[in-house]
Symmetry: C2
Subunit: 433 residues, 2 copies
């Protein structure tokens, strides 16, 4: 048996404590699988005195994570502090500068600085592993980087935020409005007190930025992602989706188009019978379309201490086994510069819900604005007007494939025509064939 792998862990919150506990509890299993012992020899966290459910005897304590990265007697460095900058980044850089492999669950760090860190790692003859950074326990990174390594990817997409999926699932299954579902998600610990990062689509965007790089061998470009959150989705939209044979999910999508890479995170209507549509609650899913494999789908827990710890441990065991593949699947010098496709060029079908004043000319305005912009309609449903005051009638349109630019122009013109009460609702349709 080889000498044991000595780990330094910084950040001992839920995931970090879980990882340390599991290394203690499953020592025998882990050693059998990788042919060597794995031991935590150095730790650092905010509060030294907190009890964390594992035996800290024999572990060196460091008040400072960077100090541990620089001076700990370790063979691999595990960063579970989080955040794109500050101490997490400093500590990771310090470990890489020593040539020590880094395991991290930090999506923000990778999404913002992944390429620079991959270069820094390569310069020092080491790499970063980050299975836990995307889709929790689902082996999305390993699959993209290794199982698909001979494939050229056309599209990667998925449900990457459990909070949003929990809210949308409850809205659909129980007919409860967005605000009430969000409150429940907060009470259950699925959503933060400030839920913007999740429900605004930013969390999913961070994960997508990383997947996109692995999918297309391109540099990471978080700032190129078109992001729209779920807070504008109403029960009316959910009911309309059901009627039309769709379900609404916060989808993260990256695909290759003629003009570059299109990256977007937004609520989407997907066919109710698709496998992705069955992904409910806090479950995440990642799907990949590629030249050799066609379509594959991975689904599983997207968060949670044990699932995330499982992903961290899988990376640690790869390191212990001597398997440290290139951070982003390619040597960083071979990553393509990111070429951005404009969102206005996006092509697809659209669902549009309008509240139309019940008056002469209103319907002609809709028909004309669509026609002017070359948009053909697959279906139109007008419901009975609500006749309190000047009544409005809900009108639901589903378009054939068109462009984002055309839809935006049409909706802008429609709004100016003055027949609408409130802003038009628009949800993109993703045909998952």
């Amino acid at each position: 048996m080889k000498t044991e792998l000595r780990l330094g862990i910084v950040g001992l919150g839920t995931v970090g404590a879980n990882v340390a506990q599991l290394i203690e509890r499953k020592a025998e299993l882990l050693a059998e699988r990788v042919g060597r012992g794995i031991r935590v020899t150095a730790i650092s966290a905010r509060d030294r005195d907190r009890r964390r459910g594992f035996d800290t005897d024999g572990m060196a304590w460091f008040d400072d994570a960077v100090d541990l990265a620089q001076n700990g007697e370790i063979d691999a460095f595990v960063e579970l502090i989080g955040g794109s900058d500050g101490i997490a980044r400093d500590a990771v850089e310090a470990a890489l500068d020593r040539g020590i492999p880094v395991v991290t669950a930090n999506k923000a760090l990778l999404a913002h600085h992944g390429v620079a860190l991959a270069k820094r790692a390569a310069q020092n003859g080491t790499e970063i592993l980050f299975e836990a950074a995307v889709a929790g326990g689902i082996p999305a990174i390993k699959t993209m980087r290794e199982a698909l390594s001979a494939n050229e990817v056309n599209r990667v997409y998925g449900i990457l935020n459990g909070t949003c999926n929990y809210i949308l699932t409850r809205m659909e299954k129980e007919g409860i409005g967005f605000d009430a579902c969000l409150k429940d998600a907060q009470a259950l610990g699925y959503a933060e007190a400030d839920p913007t990062f999740d429900i605004g689509g930013f969390d999913a965007a961070h994960k997508l930025a990383i997947l996109t790089s692995l999918a297309f061998g391109s540099e990471i470009s978080l700032e190129s992602i078109f992001i729209e959150g779920i807070s504008k989705i109403t029960i009316d939209d959910i009911a309309a989706a059901t009627e039309l044979g769709y379900r609404i999910k916060l989808l993260a999508v990256a695909l290759k188009t003629d003009s570059g890479i299109e990256q977007r995170v937004h609520p989407a209507m997907i066919p109710a019978r698709s496998a992705l549509a069955q992904v409910d609650g806090v479950t995440n899913a990642v799907a990949v379309d590629s030249d050799l494999l066609g379509s594959i789908l991975l689904a599983g827990p997207g968060a949670g201490g044990a699932a995330t710890a499982s992903a961290v441990l899988s990376d640690i065991m790869d390191v212990a086994g001597g398997f440290v593949p290139p951070t982003l699947g390619l040597p960083p010098s071979r990553l393509q510069p990111y070429l951005r496709a404009r969102m206005r060029a996006h092509e697809g079908g659209y669902y549009i819900r309008l509240a139309v004043y019940d008056r002469v000319g209103a319907f002609a305005s809709i028909a004309n604005r669509m026609a002017e912009n070359g948009i053909s309609l697959e279906s139109i449903v007008q419901r009975k007007a609500d006749h309190k005051g000047e009544g409005t009638a809900p009108v639901i349109l589903v378009t054939h494939e068109t462009t984002e630019a055309a839809i935006r122009l049409a909706l802008e013109a429609l709004s100016k025509d003055g027949h609408l009460s409130g802003d038009p609702q628009m949800i993109r349709i993703e045909d998952l064939d």
Copy 2:
């Protein structure tokens, strides 16, 4: 860049030719990813003169696969001949005896001789990789062996035979009978002229035997699998399943029970809303329940030249990158002896369809035989009798959880009572919660 990896490929059918073509066509991509060139330096197949769509210049030809394994100038050996014994096995053993890593898509070889081969590999300081042997392009092996390496698995299950799933999907969607669907599957090349291996459940059993070993760290035991094929499934069963909120799939399941490991392949009713129920046509799926991750699901193409070649290439690239994990996820000496749970001890719900003569006492016989064996019923549906001659009425029962032993005794007694026309139909219900 390291020296190139020299490959010997034996068997140049659809998959073998695909692999060689892709290594030629994607040479640059593959080299970038693994940091070294990959080149086929030796080949062997039945017919030397056949054109195969890749340039054989510079490749040494061997009439005999074993000769290639023993004498080829190669760093890794790729076996794509197939078959559990004979030349495939001899050649793999010869390569292992030289200490050369083996990549294979041969499920029969692994299912029958996996443990012996793993031992032989370990004795010679090398390993066998076999991603393509189970569920085609889905990274089931990599996920079980690496992503789940810190997990203890409770259950692994899936849809592992594309032919069966294609037939069952068409029966359901188009209301066409089993025989007609099988004929179409044969015409489309999804089923062999002798379809027994697929529709009898044996192909799925081979794949399950391998997954079970990886899941539980146990020795492989193909002969312990309870196997039942799909040929007895009728349109009536499909219609009843739909009505009851289920879909019928050929399911392969391995789980840990108090008395050992239960392995079974049989048609099962699974909840229509489950993700697995959406896996249609020739698509395969593998699901795993484990202590840390909970449930994860992988779905994708289970067969086809390109998808299988993709899996073979993923293994080849692991070898090129120097990553050759233990064949069965553990050193072979650490594999547990297989402890078999008897199928009679299986617990679950059952669907039973009877054709009952429309006469006094028939229903009492059903009720009594169930009660005698401690079986409680969740639902009973009796349809109107068919009144030609001595009419029979279809009766459909759904039981609460009971044992296989109880169901078998009850159905045997019922048959002896003489109120049934024909044999009872019985389909196990798998609650996937």
